[in-house]
Symmetry: C2
């Protein structure tokens, strides 16, 4: 089974990487950009009996390792 975990900084947390990319895009002539935020997308292949079991396990991975709950939010999507 395949899981997609998207991890992003919470609203209000400064995103210097996003700011740098925003600035670089403006310097390249892209004037219509209003905001850029950069996060991680983690693809996990795992063995699981069901979607529910996979989701539970991947959420535990996110809580324990993949995301920092103080400054980051995450979403989990399971593909079969």
């Amino acid at each position: 089974m395949k899981a997609i975990v998207n991890v992003h900084l919470k609203k209000g947390v400064l995103d210097p990487q996003g700011k740098a990319v925003h600035h670089a895009l403006e310097n390249l002539g892209f004037k219509n950009v209003e905001d850029v935020r950069i996060g991680k997308q983690i693809l996990i292949e795992l063995k699981a009996q069901s979607v529910e079991e996979a989701e539970k396990e991947v959420k535990e991975m996110a809580d324990r390792l993949l995301a920092n709950p103080v400054i980051e939010n995450y979403t989990v999507e399971i593909l079969q």
Copy 2:
């Protein structure tokens, strides 16, 4: 308009960050993980007249700055 750009290393390109996370998950007791790949998810807010225009502009951003075409693939999704 909002655009989501997902950037991942191409198949066959070594992903040491993914390997490290895979190893860390195993050490935490997650034994069902078969593979981990880590990419970037870039969220862009931009002004555009249409979805087509936004998609064209964001693809150009990806080609010129956001992705390295030698080792990375990307996908673009436009949300209204």
